[in-house]
Amino acid sequence: MQTLRRLAPQIVTLLAVCLLVTLFFPGFLDISMSGGRLVGPVIDILKRSAPVALLAIGMTLVIATRGIDLSVGTVIAICGAVAAWAIAGGMGLWAAVALAIGAGLLAGLWNGVLVAVIGIQPIVATLILMTAGRGIAQLITEGRILTFTDPGFAWFGSGTLFGMPVPAVIWIVTGVVMAQLMRRTALGLLVEAIGINRRASALAGVNALVLLIAVYMASGLCAALAGIITAADIRGADANNAGLWLELDAILAVVIGGNSLLGGRFSIAAALLGALIIQTIDTGILLAGFPSEYNLVIKAGLVVIILVLQSPRLATEWYFWRRSVREGPPPATTKEHAR
């Protein structure tokens, strides 16, 4: 019940955006079964939102500790490059997956050490990998777009599991597992505590150092999964463009999810809804038939509207306005009390 109340703004927004798209493109909500897999615009959105949704999971945790991880877009490129390199080198499917995930964890470890041990501000610390990382990815792919033909690996991008696109299954499962891990253990509380007051938490015996590093590694892990999906989808690694600017979409998803950039209380589910809202807007604009030049402008406009509607100040004003209207003339209230 409490969870539902927390998620209500995001759910309402998502429904509103869906409704808006349906007005322009009546077939938006159609889902049909074709060759053992579900197809339809909604399914497509679930599939395409995979990279941003995965990044948003890790980003939510990082932001909860009052940090930010700008490097995730680049880590997608690195992990994709590592996976493609391993596949092209004939190391096999699972070695490629393991190496890509390892690369993501390593990137997270690097960020985490810079932030937690050395004490660099998160935005600066992760900026280092954000800029340098594309170079690393290019070194791995030797400056080319490294392509491969491994149907096993491509399954992560275009396969089907239980009728659903594999990328959609991956992000939903990752989200559920991560959210449960946070709420069923004490991790969520401890992460929120260090995000609100690291010093007081450390004084209470919370191992803030290890937790911070772990959170950045979780973000690296999520980026690695997104990297695998991205590489598998195009059957190749593009060091220059894979995951480009996705860190910004992920931050946006977290913010639309109502999580404060100042750290503290967080909700992974809300951030995932945020990612869905973004992807629905993206896909919806295309479906509605607007020329592609309008995409970014319309998207920006919708995002501004969503954020304004969600702003706490507006909510307070709205609350007082409604109350003053409801209470209206004093006699009416008295009557109600008398009853």
Partner: protein, 503 residues
Amino acid sequence: MLLTIRSLTKTFPGTLALDDVRFDLAAGEVHALLGENGAGKSTLIKCLTGAYRPDAGEITLDGAVVAPRSTGEAQELGIGTVYQEVNLLPNLTVAQNLCFGREPRRFGLVSSRGMKAMAEGMLDGYGLDIDVGRDLGTYSVAIQQIVAIARAVALSGKVLILDEPTASLDAREVEMLFDVVRGLRAQGLGIVFVSHFLDQVFDLSDRVTVLRNGRHIVTEDIAALDRVRLIEHMLGHALEDEVEARNAGHLEARRPPMLHFEDMARRGVIEGFDLEVGQGEVVGLAGLLGSGRTESAELLFGLRAATAGTARDQEGPLTLDSPRAAVRAGFGFAPEDRKTDGIVADLSVRENIALALQARRGWARPIPRAEQQRLAEMYIERLDIRTSDAEKAVGDLSGGNQQKVVLARWLAMNPRFLILDEPTRGIDVGAHAEILRLIHQLTDEGMSVLLISSELDELIAVSDRVIVVRDRRHVAELTGAGISTETIVHAIAQHARKDGEAA
């Protein structure tokens, strides 16, 4: 009188910061304003400079009632302030700083020649021989302070408030600054001088006003006071009844020793000290601000790494290299600044109480919600924490209740050794007494407590033993009947006197 303040009162949620305070300042005098942290000095100054609006009371300047609403308004009225941290712009030139906001203009443009002349005119009489065209940041802090004073005097010109102006100056620079201040006094300015260096207070001031717990304690000519009396005023007199009641406790046989600290030290922070804590014993740490009280506690809790020293209990050596290690050893620490170091403001009362316990259990073994709820409700009742319910964010509680939540967090751990740094600062009288009662109760149950406090009443009332810290050294240990306001004040004052002789 140039400036008179009558029955000034200011409350913050849960705290009475100023309670019916009066203060007088004559033209041509330096009036020192003294008191420990939380005594109300800065609140008083902020009311004077318009940063706070007092709840009640009257400020009269030159015979007219004033109520400044901003620093700018206070300056126009004639009240200027210079803070410990120079609040000028180091990357602008001295002249730009001095003329900031009222630059001389020529054809609508700032005239640099006019500005130079104006700046040099303002600095005239301060005995400074500096190039006003150079960046302020290239000069020493002392010169920056004097520039700040020159600016404040030029802008305001009646009352000058110096808030800890000497904290980052060396002896020679202090002399230089004092010469300037004496010059201004001769010109007829009224100067309010806030400092915790008593030698400087005796050196410079004409009169002294002491505040304690937001109340006016005394105003006297400096000539009529000696160090011991002054410190007594600052730290307070003993509440005779409480002392009688506890003195019986002092006379009890020494408690069985539990913890031994030997030669604990950190270079430049605190000199090596030995400390033995008995089971169920309250050890008090007395000393003035900056004497090394808090630092001693931080060393014991592993918050600052000790560069030397060993700790052991009856079973063997203890490692105390981090708060986590100290918690494992059964220690607890309620820090002085509960807002920044104690509470986690946005978390609920329940979560704050469970935090330390959860940290010790590890993340993989969460405390069940029902258990957390039970803990929270138990301590809300036992410590009488005033909150609507356990889910309220701690940041929304009053100071005293926040302190109780921090205490509850540690009590839930059932520590054997609890360090309380100023546990009653800034909290109302009722909560104050409750916390002292709680300390009695806990030690009766066998817990040992290290109590740091600026209030001698409090130390005397609850301590079995008092250790006096001064000048980053543990210098005296008082036990039993030897614990009294007089003995503590003497132990603290000795140092100041020695210092005075050396200077």
